[in-house]
Homo-oligomer: 346 residues x 4
């Protein structure tokens, strides 16, 4: 094993990334070293690529990018009990503190000391990554690499969908990016009675239909509220799963939400916006749930069940594959909106 | 419309039923008159037929038997707002008081003043039945009669299955009578990861497999605990749905239940029995839920969703059909255990 | 009993009310006639008095005002089973349809066909009121009239407080009008670890302290976020009970809300406003619950328990009493903010 | 610091304990050494003292007994981040594995690899104890030692009581040993409407009344079902908190439980017993919850809140104090039933 590895880094403040050579990382007593098999691109990575305000406020370059990663355990710290050498693992990207009240009460996903790989510390667009042993989730050896690498992001979909009770419910999913279309698949597996979806990209709406949406409306060219109202006999939907962060989609979603309905929010808005609190939440007795990350590690157990039972098939979500060094081309496709999930191979 | 109708009654204490003529019932201000299209036989009806201890303690003959009924509204009391004349309805069999604390807090299924048709008042093995308007559930006009008539009993399956969270869970269903196999279908629709079933009839275990059980074990000839333990990698199941009432099945189910698991109990035991409270509930931190009837009317809305979305197909459950006057033959098949649901047509 | 009664009505669009004579109402088969003993003034009544936009959009004058009412049953329709003649009752103000899906599933508080007395139909600032029998809640004969009349409004406090789990939690209550201070008392009874309160009236903040607030901050003269942050060791609160509708209070409340915390919203905002969705809900994984009215009739059973066990004492909440004909004077006190609850006696 | 310490051990199979000298334990990288300030006696310790079947099947002597412990941190392993040297701590007695699915999903209280101090490994009836850092719960320095030492056991009471919703509910607590009477205090703090208690010791029933029971019935001399039925207007109770394990108490408790009620079970029965499953659980739609240990560490945060807010006062629960070497005398008092909690001081 060479001492050096290829890595895609944010070298300094500003747009773009850089391909470079970096030492293979050393590991602590409780850490493992993972030889990366694949890493996929998240919307967050695009923010980092473009260097928007959020990225500027959060990242301290240089840092290796990438937090959706799978690979093989090639070294273990002295105190690691599992996983074993040779295990095929996917990584949970949030490294939590284990000592705060959130971590100690099964709510590590809201640990305020969390450090995100590829953002707050070196990530997985590289040959190797060092990470806490508990963040390595052991996969069956025969799981396809493209499925394994998707699981971190799939966890967002599972966490969002399972926050509301979906059995026999009419569900609206606003935003059909990769996590949106995976959420459609989970909602279908969870017994939703009918699934409606919206986006502004016809490419993604096609993917939404393929994953199980009964009706997929283009919010730019169609009339979301009218069409979904009609499809639900004028009633609207029982559950809104908001994956876009677009204020207009949020407005449409809450307009369509039935009294007593549940709205689960994963999408991140561009900033504060004006909202009709009274009609959308108070008078309607709506229940609104913010969602952040995955439940550690309940969501991982849940997604394992969904994949093993074949209740959800993630393969159609991967639409593009690139070598790690072709990262610039991959980010261009990602930015076009004409893609599902894009996977990089080191 | 004639003043008289055919009816199958329990004429007096003792085994057996009797075919007779009875006046078409009159209706109160809040009642409707339903012309029966079909009525199906429940396990409870078999207890009444055989006149066991429970039947002896509860029924006051003469009474028209039968509580799983669908038909057409042919008359309405003066204060009835819905359903309308001509509506095709299925009947909720529990006529609740609407004034007790249970009824007033959305828990009418445990109303202590409830009166059950076919048991506490005249039922539906007859040409007509009079019932409170709120007990008549309006079906789509084109719903197959055999599906419509099953809904009351299907509601037990839905109520039982929806009492626990089943998404991505391993589920054991003990007892594959008609309500058991319908519960299998609901568990599948609700996203269960794997469904295991037990019974003592191979006929019913075949039906269980057809409805979605991954493994169906004959408790008389197989080793339930060993086989299901093996099928779950030694772990056992997350959820037990107990539909048999057999103490041996209850024992097996709780033995297989994982720590922190949920057990939902619909089956009625033959009487008190010995149970290892410590190991099966306390040490295991199990949650145990008794289930009685359907939630009024939440379960009906849920089952409507499952049927409309085609998430559940009830047709395979109906295995036999008879004319009402052939009731003796129908009860003989029912008693043999070699049947799913049996439907009678007046 | 005379055929005529005194009543305070909104005679026509515009500010103010009018004292007039009206016929004692007749009752339907399912209704009761209540001789009013007392009626209290709600914030809603002040909106009607002033004739704001909401009032203009909703009321169709002439209408008798007043929806917080207690009195005695003096007549019953032919089909009424309870309450009995002579019973001392308080009224639930929402007359629900009983036939929609919400009403049929224990969620009558979000019935979309509800008609509110004193708003959509004649209310209780009068000698008598006719209302559905099920809306009459029977009190113990010896309950003080001033407590009995407060129960409808107290129900808002109970519904709001019981929506979140408060045991051992730090709770912030924004808005110390009558329902706010009653909510403080409920939170205390429900085992809250510490209760913080905010308002802009020192009079009401004093009342808040008397009802159990550990710290009561004037949002006009103090620094809400700093003071409550300090009082909670920098942590903030587990639960926000928002009773003011003021966007500034909502902003402060969500700023103080801990990650994973719960916000329950009863306050009605003056209109849409700008809100930082990301930081206040999504990243924080907050749960937000809109609250409307009372749970019918679960909330009433709960408040009965709180009053009977003396866990909550409502007497300090009533600060002013007037004869019904002094309504103008009463509304002036109400508008000043220098009051708790004001009770009118016909 | 001497190398040796005094310890009370189970030296070999058989009744009784022994006072001896043992080396002060060494600590691992993640462990702390606690200088014991006090240790209290649990019912489990009495089983060990008497050497009943359970003790025989579980313990491997020699082992230092005692699992309710508080003390001071006097040494820390190299990887311990908290607590700090000098911290005053109470100990969680269950040392969990942190790697199984239960531990990784916030349900460490049902970890199947748990090792209990004083049972599976050396405990705290000694001068010092070594334990995982995460099991040391930091107390305020000024917390009375007698309160600090009670917290582990108090956690059972909190876990049991908080498993059901108690606000405004009628609650029956069967079994008034130390954990039973602490449960009474928690139920009171959690807003129970009325608390009823049963036991066979008048001494303990007196303590129950002191802690907040409205009615305390001696099951040996009184008629539990009749007296509590009368006290609840014939209705029975909403919640049963079963702390005795006595089949007769369980029978009485379920007989008194209302339809739809909740039963929480902490008491350990002497063995399997006959139970009327149908009437007590199924027909009644009861919810039954087994409780084991404390939620790690949610229960500890909850009990901290209850103590800090003075919602619960534990001091009356401690009725006897002994030097550690007087352990034989202490166990004699414990066995008499004429005690609350007994505290030993090394």
């Amino acid at each position: 094993m060479s001492d050096m590895m290829t890595a895609v880094i944010k070298p300094r403040p500003g747009a773009g990334l850089e391909l470079t050579q970096r030492p293979v990382p050393s590991i602590g007593l409780n850490e493992v070293l993972v030889k990366v098999k694949a890493a996929s691109i998240c919307g967050t990575d695009l923010h980092i690529y473009k260097w928007d305000k959020w990225a500027e406020s959060r990242l301290k370059p240089p840092v290796i990018v990438g937090h959706e990663v799978c690979g093989e355990i090639v070294a273990r710290g002295a105190m690691v009990k599992e996983p074993n050498l040779g295990d095929f693992v996917s990584l949970e990207s949030h490294v939590i503190c284990n000592t705060c009240a959130y971590c100690r009460t099964g709510r590590g996903h809201i640990c305020q000391n969390t450090r995100l790989i590829g953002v707050d510390r070196d990530g997985g667009f590289a040959g190797y990554i060092a990470i806490d042993a508990q963040n390595a989730w052991v996969n069956p050896p025969d799981m396809p690499v493209e499925v394994a690498v998707l699981q971190e992001n799939f966890g967002n979909a599972v966490h969002t969908a399972f926050t509301a009770d979906l059995v026999s419910k009419k569900v609206l999913i606003t935003g059909c990016g990769p996590v949106g279309v995976m959420t459609i698949a989970v909602a279908k597996a969870a017994g939703a009675r009918a699934i409606y979806a919206t986006d502004v990209s016809d490419y993604r709406l096609d993917l939404a239909r393929k994953m199980g949406a009964e009706l997929a409306v283009n919010a730019r060219t169609g009339n979301v509220v009218e069409q979904i109202r009609a499809a639900t006999d004028g009633e609207g939907v029982d559950v809104l799963l908001e994956m876009s962060g677009a204020p207009s989609a949020i407005e449409q979603g809450f307009t369509l939400l039935k009294p007593g309905g549940a709205a689960v929010l994963l999408g991140v808005a561009p900033g504060p916006f004006t909202f009709d609190w009274n009609h959308h939440i108070v008078f309607k007795a709506a229940r609104v749930y913010g969602v952040s990350g995955r439940k550690l590690w309940e969501t991982w157990y849940q997604l394992r069940g969904l994949i093993r039972s074949k209740a959800v098939d993630l393969q159609p979500v991967v639409t593009h594959r690139f070598a790690l060094k072709e990262y610039d081309q991959a980010f261009a496709v990602m930015a076009s909106g004409e893609s599902g999930k894009i996977v990089l191979f080191p």
